[in-house]
Symmetry: D2
Subunit: 337 residues, 4 copies
């Protein structure tokens, strides 16, 4: 049983079925019937007008989002361990044509209003220094931590006060909503988020994430984003298969049901090893203390996962698991002690 | 029956089956078993060592290819009606960080050695002018014309003489090989092509084209291309589904069989209206003289296609058709006269 | 006596004196007393509010201007022989992050409204094609031809009708005004020009051109330009020496007096060889038919200039000459026949 | 008497004289007699073959240097308070097309081998992370600290061991050499520096810094740099005036004499307030504790300088001062206590 990554998991059956249903002749690019339904579907889900574009990957979604918010001479405040900072080989710098990622610390890979304000104060408003133009936060964070609606709103307020835009990397947005039990709008547009990368692939999709624009500038930004999408080579010629996947995720709250299953699996594992946890488990990732001998023992029992530096490991659960499915690993973890 | 574009066509069954077969847990990105087989599969097909990368789209494949061949201050010689020039919203300029596309004329959207040489002569070798660094040709061309092996080789010779690299946009490479009945190597590496965009989506795929590097610099360029792919957001997290599609296209020469069917359909239509042809039909595209009244009449009979300016139309056949399948349109075309 | 280029000429004495006068301690970059006077000086000269920035070169001025007018995915319509197209090694593509220069023909290196309109019509308004966003014209042109106020206004109207911005490369703007005898506003802001590269170096300066913004967006664009200037490394730390040069050019109409002298010199040469002229002489450049034997003969007499392809030559006069000073060459040209 | 910045100082007389001497007709750009002498002059000075290019500013020199060393997907290790990091509005990101500046701490704005090695260890060698490709150090540092030859060599060794290139921002290189009393080669090419920004403007020049390439790749990099220079708009059309300034700085060791004077002035001030120093004074900058009352008192006596945060000030001496000239400030500082 593998706990490498939610990327390593198969596609969920409803998504496969949706692609089969879309396997008909239709107009190319985003001129098809499925793509045309995206704006409406996301507007319904979020309870506000939304402009939605599919793109091939989360890296593309994040980068295009940031390119719409920040000029080449601007800066984007983000956590020093965020995906855009350390795992995208500079893709945001590519799409923004050289904007700077401004690295900030924070517990659990989360940013705090205080850290943001302190950093913003240190920037001289002259032409020699890079002006901050956007904040990017990750929900759930790289360490599986979840911002509450109040925490997002507090950051949204910092953004508004400093005339910055706010981007949310929601590769695991579903897991965050599942954890909080809130309305998706509560941690996005109602809390000041301007652009959201709504992740699907880690949550059961095959190819395709949704890039969502909220607010009064949504139309202008979506038009701009459509240009970056084309220039980035992300306007797939058979886009209906992407749109169909995303729509399938929204149908009957599949996105939430999948995330709840993954979260429940992670919670079950966390309960097994409360003393080993390096971070509270709020989504579908566990970071635990684990000696190399212990890791070897687990692997010998058929459990696969990544080491996380010396003496630690990362375990990621997924939509295809739930509390019951991971019981064998929970038991194995318990018997380590 | 639609003749809009090969993009408007469904995915062929073997490709759908291959994705279903790949729907298992495996490592993310290109760390999976399917991606690992690409180099070998293409090396076998082309009869020479090949480095192969999947990317999401032809636009990305072309742009990444050119970024590997041309520095930001360089120029790329291409036909004035080529896809990279008029249909990619400047994507090559994005990936190359501002390299110039040098526009050239040519019958049937094909370049000739003479035109290339004349343009190259006009460039002063000082620092004020943009030095040409690459040639990009399209096989089959935007007008469905096919370069013979000798024609590609003649351009390859111009490239070698001027120390330029040669890229081939092979969105319809399969149709060209099917037309020529040659070995795929005859119009690629043996004729001096350094990098080939090997198209799959127009030929029955869903998402994913192959970017192929030949020759002594293949390894270095593929490593560089892997960086551009990541930075461009094209390193899909579940890459196995792309690799599986591409491998399925190669299995039992599916790529050639699909292309032959599409070509045969186009030939059948061409035979029906020899006097209307604006270009010889060599691949799966027809450009014909057609008055608006005639176009309306065909559409009333259920045939869909795009106008091509005033008094002309473009008809594209696809893998799901063949000579028999398009008989109704052939008949309708004949009865126009 | 050299007729290579106005760049090959020494700096005029008033400019040298101005630099000596500025050789005192003052704040760095553009925080000095001289830089602070630029907006006012140009506003007075043009009879409208102007925002003015010095930059080191005309290439930088043109490129920064275009970066303020055109997004990376946009296009700039310009003459196929314009400086930005053929003599700046892609600098506009660098500063605009990949915008496309859209090449157009035109007599005397001048654009016509008709050519512009025809090209604009051919652009489909979808996301696949590069949208035009700006027009760039050169006054005087690469062939020393001058747009009349009516001609500029006609192009300004095309720009307005198509929601494009209009840039003027005025490396030899002074020569054009001197030729026309008009107010500088007549061929710039009154005729629809949004941004003007006001050339100084060819006209007697050492280092430094002025980038001028007109109209309601002048402030916003100048702020943006200040960022590009810094990022491009053009915010010189001792900017006062540049500002002083530019102010000296404006003092007592030095810019016009210098240009008139150069124009008069060119006119005197043109009168000597009316039958050899390849283009009417309106500024300070002559393009004449000249065999290699004739060129050799002139060079043997001490006249230096550049060949202009086979059987032709370019002669550029400058601020330090006038009709009298070039009499020896005029005589030599006359005696060729 | 001002201690704002060495940029605020007039140009030294020898440089003014050199520009006057160059005020003759010559070929444009870098085709003149002065530019042709640069390689030789710097090769003599450094005792090794050097390729030298003038550019307008230090920001341009640094950025072009880094563009020659680092691809768009690479990273450049530099101090968190270095000029390229905090005072160039992202110019290195512009010229490198998006390379990342990797921020490191270090006493006195100097990097240590240990910090570099630790950071390099943390980079995974996969395609998701940005690979380090260059190190950039500043000599003298932002806090007026000087790397000894041994310290530079130790960093050069880290670079070599990790296949990185080493850039030195030598805006105050002269002050460093003057302090160390070493050969300029000892802290540059002999210690592993590949590219050096040799500063002139802070040291008495008007416009123009030299970009120096050492080693086996010097020719290839200088050719590449010449393209960036042109594309960046830094190939001035009357380049002879820049080359003449730089040559004047080298004549009779003017660069060293100027730097020694500035250093001596700083040393004299340092001796006056040994207990106030925030950093040892090794070049021409003092950072001292100073209450706002004390600062006000000094300003009332006619001494100008910048505050450096709360309770501190920065004082910069320059070529036009020496120990004697700054005696009044030394006295004033002494009497504060």
């Amino acid at each position: 049983m593998h706990f490498f990554s939610d990327n390593a998991t198969p596609v969920c059956p409803q998504v496969m079925a949706a692609m089969a249903a879309a396997d008909v002749a239709d107009h190319g690019y985003d001129g098809d019937a499925w793509s045309a339904r995206l704006d409406g579907a996301f507007s319904d889900l979020f309870g506000t007008p939304v402009r939605a574009l599919w793109v091939a990957t989360g890296t593309a979604a994040n980068s295009i989002a940031l390119a719409c918010l920040c000029p080449p001479y601007g800066g984007i405040l983000a956590h020093e361990e965020s995906h855009i900072m350390v795992d995208e080989c500079g893709a945001p710098g590519f799409y923004t044509h050289g904007a700077s990622l401004m690295s900030l610390p924070g517990d659990g890979a989360k940013l705090s209003p205080e850290t943001l304000i302190e950093r913003l104060k240190a920037i001289r408003p002259d032409v020699h220094q890079i002006p901050a133009r956007a904040i990017s936060i990750t929900q759930a964070s790289e360490y599986g931590r979840v911002y509450t609606p109040e925490e997002v709103a507090a950051i949204g307020e910092v953004a508004r006060d400093h005339r910055l835009d706010l981007h949310m990397d929601g590769a695991r947005f579903a897991n965050a909503v599942a954890h909080l039990g809130c309305h998706p709008g509560d941690i996005s547009w109602r809390a000041g988020v301007d652009v959201l990368t709504f992740g699907c692939v880690k949550n059961g999709g095959m190819v395709g994430e949704a890039l969502l624009f909220f607010g009064s500038q949504a139309d202008a930004r979506a038009s701009e984003a459509a240009r970056w999408r084309k220039r980035g080579g992300h306007l797939l010629s058979k886009g209906r298969y992407l749109a169909a996947q995303i729509l399938a995720m929204l149908e009957d709250d599949l996105w939430l049901r999948n995330a709840r299953a993954a979260n429940a699996a992670a919670a079950a594992l966390a309960q097994a090893v409360p003393d080993r946890l390096l971070h509270p488990v709020e989504a579908n990732e566990l970071f635990i203390r684990l000696s190399s001998a212990e890791a070897a023992s687990l692997r010998a029992q058929g459990f696969d996962f990544y080491d996380w530096g010396e003496g630690a490991a990362r375990l990621v659960t997924n939509w295809a698991q739930d509390a019951g499915a991971v019981q064998p690993l929970a038991d194995a973890l318990r018997s380590l002690a």
